[in-house]
């Protein structure tokens, strides 16, 4: 029990965070793409493709944070202060973009609408960037003593974390552009295809750089990736990434609607799997394992019962919400 409960929970929280990345990734990406899409009608359509679902997408982030607090309180207590500026930055950015969904339709003057469009784009970009910084910083490792953060303000700020920040921004933009290919048509879809093509190349390049850099951060990661038996598990990852890349460009070239989105999401799943392989069984590198960070079994069990019952239910009605709003979103279509 004391062994398996934290394992089950690590899996569940990993799934929650992955669900967050896959889902909020594309709606943050839609916001980031405001940087290159300027036509007011296009922007309205872009927002309308995600307006009914963004709130649910973001809830996975709350589940990730809440789950960490409940089940791995030590990890929560170390990670939040360690990445203090990045976390605060992410939260405030999410505030801006969250309200921009409503406010940009409520703004009466073109100037104030332009400001809320900027808030939507800036908020989405900064939130993605801060998530990348946190991810990179976590891979680098956090200095903790007695279950509390013991490092300085900007320990996390390195070339590697900045690169991760940029990678996440471009990655989410890629998800956003492929989402738009799926959910829009005409000029906007055409433009999304062009962006997806460029972003796909950039993101694939960044995946390669980050993947080669990560094992150098920590000998443990290096051993995991290139030593035996780790390599049995790790070697399929790059192969599958290449396969997804093939599917991605084939889908783009063949003017398929859904394939590019699925392939881009597959890249994220694979990178995430790679991350999991590197970290396991650490939750806060270099020193804190999931068992050290775990709450007492009674806490884990109490919440696990609810999670096992409720997460499938959540998936069902979330799926229903997506199904209700299926299909291409047209100019002047539902809402506002």
């Amino acid at each position: 029990m004391a062994y398996w409960l934290p394992v089950a929970w690590a899996g569940l929280i990993a799934v929650a965070v992955l669900a967050y990345v896959l889902l909020d990734g594309f709606d943050l990406g839609v916001g980031i793409l405001f940087a290159v899409e300027h036509h007011p009608d296009d922007r309205d359509v872009m927002v309308n493709t995600v307006a009914p679902v963004w709130d649910g997408n973001e809830t996975w982030l709350v589940l990730g944070g809440g789950g960490l607090f409940a089940v791995f309180p030590m990890a929560y207590a170390v990670i939040m202060p360690a990445f203090y500026p990045a976390i605060i930055g992410m939260l405030l950015a999410l505030v801006f973009r969250g309200v921009a969904f409503e406010f940009r339709f409520r703004a009466r003057r073109p100037l104030s609408r332009a400001w809320w469009d900027r808030a939507f784009m800036g908020g989405s970009t900064v939130a993605a960037f801060c998530q990348g910084l946190t991810l990179g910083g976590l891979l680098q490792g956090v200095h903790a003593v007695d279950g509390q953060y013991a490092g300085g303000w900007f320990d996390w700020l390195t070339g590697f974390t900045l690169l991760c920040g940029i990678a996440v921004v471009l990655g989410y933009a890629l998800l956003g552009s492929t989402w738009l290919i799926w959910r829009t048509e005409g000029r906007l879809q055409h433009s999304a295809r062009r962006h997806a093509h460029v972003l796909g190349m950039a993101v694939l390049g960044l995946i390669v750089i980050v993947s080669l850099w990560t094992p150098m951060l920590n000998p443990r990661f290096e051993h995991r990736w290139f030593g035996f038996p780790g390599i049995v598990l790790t070697s399929p990852v790059p192969i599958l990434v290449a396969l997804a890349a093939w599917g991605f460009w084939r889908g783009l070239a063949g003017r398929r609607d859904l394939a590019p989105f699925l392939c881009a999401e597959a890249w994220f799943v694979l990178c995430y799997a790679g991350l999991g392989i590197s970290l396991w069984p650490l939750i806060v590198p270099p020193g804190i394992t999931i068992w050290q960070a775990a709450a007492p079994p009674s806490s884990q069990l109490f919440l696990l019962v609810g999670a096992v019952v409720l997460i499938p239910v959540i998936l069902i009605y979330t799926g229903f919400a997506y199904w209700v709003f299926r299909g291409k979103v047209k100019v002047g279509a539902h809402y506002h």
Partner: protein, 469 residues
């Protein structure tokens, strides 16, 4: 107390102060929307659908602000209070986890359908979505108040050698002694806050157009709530006070400004609690009434702050004054409710400008009372985060004062911009009269001329100068 901790406390008070108004708003408004839609479906009267659509737009803005300020709260425990998080996470964390699993996802999943889906799913399923969102807000209140109440009246725990709280009995944790009282008090407070806002909006439009059917319905519904729920809230508040007296006597002593323990305590209507001098100065008091209220006996003894060590005293002036303001607002609400009841029976409910003006003035009364109530109970919990067990000074993150100050400044700027603008948009929506026959929130095009209001009912964005701006 160090600057960093003081700043962290101020930051938490600021963020939660902004936040709490929004859930109170959405709990009350979601239930009101569900009632309106149900009335529309059962009676078939268009005015209910008009009102539903009118308030739905407000709800969309409020909900978005509530979500984003709530996400900040979910992480602030870790950023600024990491020691607290590490020690209490095993107990409080699962309660919040259940809030996310049972409430947040439910609300988020059905909110889209509620806001945008009327034409896609039909009225029956739409009604279901509205009811689910309303129910979700109540479930959310259940868990978050359980977690908060546990910090006030901890139960069902053990303490590990490392000073960590270990859950022993989940039933005792969830239903800790102050929880049922706090839940009832807060849900009623949310309903009253929204009722008084709805009443004020109804009154505002009635003052302009006494025949407006929608304004009459709003005003009448709100005044029924004021007449019935406000007195219930007084009873619920009294019960919670008695519960607090039992489990957190020092808080009650601060609320009452009682520094000395003696039989037949007076009720202080006014006074200036002076912590350094250990007495309440310049008081105007009614003898024996404090004892009568708190112990239900003429000569009952209520413990004063002198029976607690000085280092366990809460900051009495804050608690004393916020409590008084809350109670005063509560009685004003009862007064308005009963006055409206009297006028209703004399068939002058819509025709008494003084009542309408009073209702308009009371628009923010519920929200201010909510804030005062939370200041009373949270400041009254000091100097502890977990009452009697974990001190605030031993709860904060290892983040220095400059870091906390910088994040506080950033948060303050962002919140003032975002919530200031949001507040303006809400007022702008409410200034427009409810459009008659405005079907679905997905208009964006001019709707037909409204029956009783002469101007064409336009989408607010599309109305360039209708409101004279």
């Amino acid at each position: 107390m160090t600057t960093a901790i003081l700043l962290a406390r101020a930051q938490f008070a600021f963020t939660i102060g902004f936040h709490i108004v929004l859930p109170a708003f959405s709990i009350g408004l979601a239930s009101y929307l569900a009632v309106l839609e149900a009335l529309w479906l059962t009676t078939g009267r268009g005015v209910y659908l008009d009102l539903f659509n009118y308030w739905l737009r407000v709800f969309a803005v409020v909900f978005a602000m509530g979500v984003v300020s709530g996400v900040v709260m979910a992480y602030e425990f870790g950023t600024n209070w990491s020691v607290f998080a590490e020690k209490t996470g095993p107990v409080i964390g699962p309660l919040m986890g259940y809030e996310v699993l049972t409430a947040f996802f439910l609300e988020a999943g059905f909110l889209g359908v509620m806001l945008f889906g009327m034409k896609r799913v039909g009225p029956g399923l739409h009604m279901f979505a509205t009811a689910v969102v309303a129910f979700g807000t109540l479930i959310s209140a259940f868990w978050i108040l359980s977690a908060n109440s546990w910090m006030q009246t901890p139960a069902g725990y053990a303490i590990s050698p490392h000073g960590r709280f270990i859950p022993v009995d989940w039933w005792a944790i969830v239903f800790n002694p102050s929880f049922p009282y706090r839940l009832v008090h807060m849900v009623l407070a949310s309903y009253l806050s929204v009722a008084f806002l709805v009443g004020a909006v109804g009154a505002w439009h009635l003052l302009r157009d006494r025949q407006s059917q929608a304004a009459r319905v709003m005003f009448s519904m709100a005044m029924w709530m004021a007449a019935i729920v406000a007195p219930l809230q007084v009873i619920a508040g009294d019960q919670q006070g008695l519960n607090t007296l039992r489990y957190q006597p020092a808080k009650v002593a601060a609320m009452e400004g009682d520094f000395t323990t003696r039989p037949g305590t007076s009720l202080k209507l006014f006074g200036l609690p002076n912590l350094a001098a250990g007495r309440t100065e310049d008081q105007i008091a009614i003898p024996h009434l404090g004892a009568l209220i708190l112990t239900h006996s003429w000569d009952g003894t209520v413990r004063g702050l002198d029976s607690f060590p000085r280092r366990d005293w809460p900051p009495a002036p804050w608690v004393f004054w916020s409590f008084r303001l809350m109670v005063a607002l509560g009685f004003a609400m009862v007064g308005l409710g009963w006055w409206s009841l009297w006028l209703r029976f004399r068939r002058r409910l819509y025709a008494t400008p003084l009542l309408l003006r009073a209702a308009l003035a009371m628009a923010p009364a519920g929200f201010i009372a909510v804030l005062c109530g939370w200041v009373t109970t949270e400041v009254g919990r000091q100097p502890f985060t977990v009452y009697g067990l974990l001190r605030t000074t031993q709860s904060a993150s290892p983040i220095g004062a400059p870091g906390v100050a910088a994040s506080f400044a950033a948060i303050a700027v962002v919140y003032f911009i975002v919530f200031g603008v949001g507040f303006r948009y809400i007022l702008r929506l409410l200034r427009q009269p409810p459009a008659v026959g405005q079907h679905g929130p997905e208009s964006g095009v001019p709707v037909r001329s409204a029956g009783l209001t002469p101007a064409p009912a336009l989408e607010p964005d599309a109305a360039p100068s209708a409101a004279g701006e």
